[in-house]
Amino acid sequence: MKILRFIISLLLTVGLVFALNMKIGMLPPVGKFIDPVNGFWQNAEKLEPEILPELKLNVTEASKIIYDERLVPHIFADNMHDLYFLQGYVTAMNRLWQMEFQTHAAAGRISEIIGEKAIPFDREQRRIGMLWSAENAVKIFSEDTLAKQIMEAYSEGVNAYINSLTEKTLPLEYKLLNYKPEQWTTLKSALLLKFMAKMLTANERDFENTNMLNLIGKEKFDLLFPDYFPNTDPIIPRGTVFDSVSVKIDTGKVTTTGKQITYEPIEKTDAHIGSNNWAVSGSKTLSGKPILCNDPHLKLSLPSIWYEIQLNAPDINVYGVSLPGSPGVVIGFNDWVAWGVTNASVDVRDWYEITFKDASKKEYLFNEKWLNTTARVEEIKVRGGKTFYDTVYYTHLGPVVYESNFTESGAKQQNLALKWTAHSPSNELKTFYYMNRAKNYSDYEHALTFYQCPGQNFVYADAHNDIAIWQQGRFPARWKEQGKFIMDGSMRENEWQAYIPQQQNPHVKNPERGFVSSANQHGVDETYPYYYLGIFEHYRNRRINNELRRMQNISADTMFRLQNDNYNLMAEENLPVMLEYVNKNELKNDSVEKLVLDALEKWNYMHDAEMIGPTAFDLWWKQYTTFVWDEFEDKPYKLIKPHPSAVLRFMKEFPNDRLFIHQTTKDRTPKNAVNLSYDAFYWTGLKINELIIEDEHPQWGFQNAITVEHLARIPAFSFNNLVTGGYKYAVNAVSPPNGPSWRMVVELGNKPKAWGVYPGGQSGNPGSANYTAFVEKWAKSEYYELLFMSRENQEKGKYVQQIIPVK
């Protein structure tokens, strides 16, 4: 009896301990996780950061890191190695989990962390060649002495931090997901650059365009999807004279097999990932010196995609935001110059239909010959499951992403290969290396020559009163409409035959109008000698240009206001036409419709948080376009609905077009733009009424509330429902889940003055008070003055950390 008692108790105890030490499903090992000595409690930081006054690290000379009160590190080193070593170290200290998670995502290795449900995601990354192209990039980095040194020093710094970790100090997410960090390598930094390349260039519409072309024919396609919309205001001011074409390409023909592409397109970039940047010359500013502004719009996430930092060594003194995982500063300023980026939005991804000789997929047809494919076996390790092997066939055009192996059913459809500039080796690292150290316009121009992908609009201003903008990247020289639709990969003239020579990339220096700007619109007007494709913004950019043209005596304050401007130019252009269609006499005096109409008629097109007008407009517009494009709904293949500008054109020019016939309801009575708009208006009234009755705050700020989501989508670690103004077509492009991820204003001069804010915090630890420290300030459109230190002036630092070399 006594023995039995003991055995039962022993088994229960041992069983309990084992159960609590094991990862079960999505739960972490509970005992290990809640243990106050080594578990999550150790990630609950004291409110006042504890920064050691001294740190022994593998630097070659004594260095110093000064943290300001917002915990921005200002690194003072004596040589390049120590500088990038310390950047790697402090970045890892604050953002290690994020750095590794993003590179695991890029490499298609998420299954290793969360198990088999991530296999489809991982396969997709592998099949589009993310890991393959990062491996190629590593070769370039290791052949280039400069890049190699920087990458290695950075990795050493990250690893110094990783190696100092114990069970107790491991970042929270590792404890929660129960895994450990690996050593950092150049490959991981390369993967991060590919991660950005994918984020910013996966905007092609080859599938959707092909499907649409098959559905409606070329004539209607051109009407609904023109290359240029009326009033296009390109980045390079109209009237700029361009050199003529200097590369020779053989023209092919747009063809289509007529087959709809029923593949689900792989993960793509939201069309509203975009950005603004501009620089005004001293002739338009109060100080007489240029001001440069930039706000890149990305999916807002926690930890933030950006990490603020200042880097100082004898040949460099730069401040700005960096991408955790990549050495250097990406957007920022130094003593002489400032620069910023927006996405070029030029299409650099084309899809080719591949003809394999037989089921072995060893040969494919090109230019009337059979060429060999290369098979690459991707090994996807799966947590708690069997390793998944996936074979990807590479052609000279790129990997055959879609083929029978990849479809759910294995059904016989088109084999589609992806050609993408991110596949070709390049050394963007050097752009940032030279840009961080630039002193004048020619340094900036030189830095850009190393930059290929993702194509960006690099805005520039310096203390000598030069302003400029270059659309820089490696862009294919296309024949007209090449790559707009899926192409036959066996035809020689369909492949990219040449690239636009770098010197002919769109650029302008000190234009007469006194400012340069970009907001993802067309780079150039129709007189540019090369044909290009892309998804271009049509409203924000014109608002910015209209405002900048008008403005004089510009100060930083004026620029803050412009960056946070909620004006919706789309509404200004489209709403009056829609309002004309509403028969005001039909509305009862105290009805909700009347209330909505009044709100809209009085509305100043501002998407401010406290207004109801923008909510009504947004609802009305969405419903209206759903009615208008209902013929494109519910198809077994993907389509993209036409742009608001196309709607406007049809409303004005063809109000009785068949498009305005209501297809989806049983109501088959002929409709036109007028009664369709009215139907949608009536629906809007009902919807607003519902919001009011259900106490759901019809004010725009609530309707547009944005959640800054944790990278692993853990709601508890996200900042939920942040009430704020803005709109996708406004300069302040808050369009959940995307928005301005970093707002920066730099006033050049003898000593630059700068302001900035991002919706996050310097610490990546959800247990730190600094995890979301800047979020509310960001939501209120306020800025921090950035503390730009020098060797001589370091007084304002809050914590000083001496870095002592380990002998």
Partner: protein, 117 residues
């Protein structure tokens, strides 16, 4: 009767010391060993381990929680669907630790009782 307070104090103190070098489950072994060493009423033996670990874990977690302004514990509460109130997560932590500790001490006591000591 007083011996239970001594046992609680010893379990708390020794666990605290050993946890710095050994994994969390050392608390079970400590509770087991203390009961094995001291013995006593079986009906009370669960409580020596329970309170020993409970008190020590609650104080440890509670102090951290307080110094952190309850920032992280609120997030963890959300994660595990617990009420988002200060010290709730610390209490749950201590309860779980207490149960494990209690199981350890009970087993230790029963082991001793097998030999009729």
């Amino acid at each position: 009767m007083k011996i239970i307070f001594l046992k609680i104090a010893l379990i708390a103190g020794i666990s605290f010391g050993l946890q710095f070098i050994l994994p969390w489950w050392i608390i079970v072994i400590v509770a087991f060993a203390i009961e094995l060493l001291f013995g006593g009423k079986t009906s009370l033996s669960f409580f020596s381990g329970f309170y020993g670990v409970f008190i020590y874990w609650f104080m440890y977690a509670g102090i951290i929680d307080f110094q952190n302004g309850f920032l992280l514990s609120k997030k963890i509460a959300l994660l595990f669907h617990l009420p988002q109130m200060p010290l709730i997560v610390a209490l749950v932590t201590a309860l779980l630790g207490g149960i494990i500790g209690g199981m350890g001490s009970l087993t230790g006591n029963l082991f001793r009782k097998m030999f009729n000591v």
